[in-house]
């Protein structure tokens, strides 16, 4: 009776989502083994072995796993699945891409995006953009689960590393997919889903240039990630990977500053679990004020430069 966690990493290190998913894995009550599959991923493997609550680390290093494409990685996870009764991964684009493929190959009905472990086979998960919380019980012999990271505190580091077992991952007989390129623009800034502070902008900015000019200095002062509402993304002010909301990223930082965002349901679904919410908006009736801890009624073009100076 063991749980297998598929680690999210970039070969050089683990993503924070892995430590958060591990927290959920530990709550399942069984031993947790962590699979680190990649190419030249020794550093990520060593980091996994020091996570608190891990019983064992499986390390698969192979050329065909370099970019962790869904097809070869799912085949590897399925080949290892036998002794495990639960398979878990973060509900990030990595886990969302991978786990349903694994689940279908195992003929398991997956439970996506869990926010609470009620029992080893029963979980809470948000539906309808977070407007309804479903308690769901699986009936399959094996469970495949993805975990919403913002709902779990990341586990810490342990002083002693656990055993690492190297496994051989045979190259697939046929190549269905291949990696062409990646474009990861802003490595200096914290990632949205891992950031402690997020400064987020909406339609009020009127242009991509204003979006940058007014939000960046405040974000720099706070060491914050930058987010955007769907309206700002649709208008072309910000790239889609900054989108916070039901259809974008779900975040829960210590501080979320919503600037010129009215507070559509779809946006609130992505950030309402933040610890402290600040809303800055011209319209005193904007729905965002109903969930904000602190509100400032006013123009973002006046308030943001003042805020940058005051920090």
């Amino acid at each position: 009776m063991t749980t297998l966690l598929v680690a999210e990493h970039d070969n050089a290190g683990l993503k924070e989502a892995t430590a958060r998913t591990l927290a959920a894995g530990v709550e399942l009550g069984e031993e947790v083994h962590v699979l680190v599959a990649g190419k030249d991923c020794t550093l990520a493997t060593e980091a996994a072995a020091r996570l608190e609550g891990v019983a064992k680390v499986l390390h698969a290093d192979a050329e065909h796993l370099a970019h962790q494409l869904a097809e070869p990685l799912a085949a590897l996870v399925v080949s290892l699945a036998g002794p495990f009764d639960t398979l878990i991964a973060p509900a990030t684009t990595f886990g969302k891409n991978l786990m349903p493929r694994v689940a279908a190959l195992l003929d398991v009905a997956q439970v996506s995006d869990i926010t609470r472990v009620v029992a080893a086979d029963t979980f809470e998960r948000p539906t309808y953009a977070g407007n309804a919380i479903e308690t769901v019980q699986t009936t399959d012999a094996k469970k495949v689960i993805t975990v919403r990271g913002s709902a779990f505190r990341p586990v810490g580091e342990s002083t002693q590393a656990v055993l690492v077992e190297t496994i051989r991952a045979a190259a697939p007989a046929e190549t269905l997919s291949s990696f062409v390129s990646a474009e990861i623009p802003d490595l200096e800034r914290p990632e949205l889903t891992a950031a402690r502070v997020i400064v987020s902008g909406g339609r009020a900015f009127q242009s991509a240039e204003n979006f940058r000019t007014y939000l960046q200095p405040v974000a720099d002062k706070l060491g914050a990630a930058i987010g955007a509402s769907r309206a700002a993304v649709d208008a072309g002010y910000a790239p889609n990977d900054l989108q916070v909301g039901q259809t974008g990223k779900v975040v829960a930082p210590d501080l979320y500053i919503a600037c010129g965002i009215s507070g559509a349901i779809q946006h609130l679904a992505g950030m309402k679990d933040s610890k402290v919410i600040v809303a800055i908006n011209k319209d005193p009736e904007a729905p965002i004020f109903q969930i904000a801890d602190y509100g400032l009624v006013g123009d973002v073009f006046e308030i943001l430069p003042q805020l940058e100076k005051a920090l």
Partner: protein, 249 residues
Amino acid sequence: MKILVPIKRVVDFNVKVRVKPDGSGVDLANVKMAMNPFDEIAVEEALRLKESGAAEEIVVVSIGPAEAADTIRTGLAMGADRGILLKTGQPTEPLAVAKALKAIAAEEKPGLVILGKQAIDDDCNQTGQMLAALLGWPQGTFASKVVIDGDAVTVTREVDGGLETLRLRLPAVITTDLRLNEPRYASLPNIMKAKKKPIDEKTAADLDVDLAPRLKILKVEAPPARRSGVKLASVGELVEKLRNEAGVL
């Protein structure tokens, strides 16, 4: 090439859903329904591929109640060529839907399946990946750009922190993300024309698939409400509160 576009009938995205007081689910009586927005993007992308000459026929398929025929008509009015309705009265879980779509793909033999990355009711984000797995096909999820290139397709994907571009061997499954395109509105003449386009009705028994749900929904609750806070007079006051009251600076 034929493109298969699975579409789902869901609550309209503008509707604020309410949880039933008895905790048995969400109240869907007299609520406006529409095509899942990500599936609209999928239909649009298929239409653009057809218009560019990369595809010849677009088949939209929906699995759900008899009313899902309306959703299929919407797809036909946008420009799809014909529809398939798999009628079921049961709640549709992604694994069961993927199995049904696999059976339909075996009959239709599409070169590409394009569908939404997730349905905005259950928010599962599973069906496309599961279908790809069952068919043994490659998958390009969360696509923001799709280019057909001979016997392969290049897909740019929206991943955490940026973009990733993959090359997939055809046939393949693609799931759509928001920025892939902006779906067109159906024109009145096309809505009229769509009424004459064929919709083939099937049952789970015809396809020999089991649609029975595997997950038990024990209860459905509204999320805990967040209390609203205070409006402040100045930036100075805000910074002071964040520092001393909230302790987050």
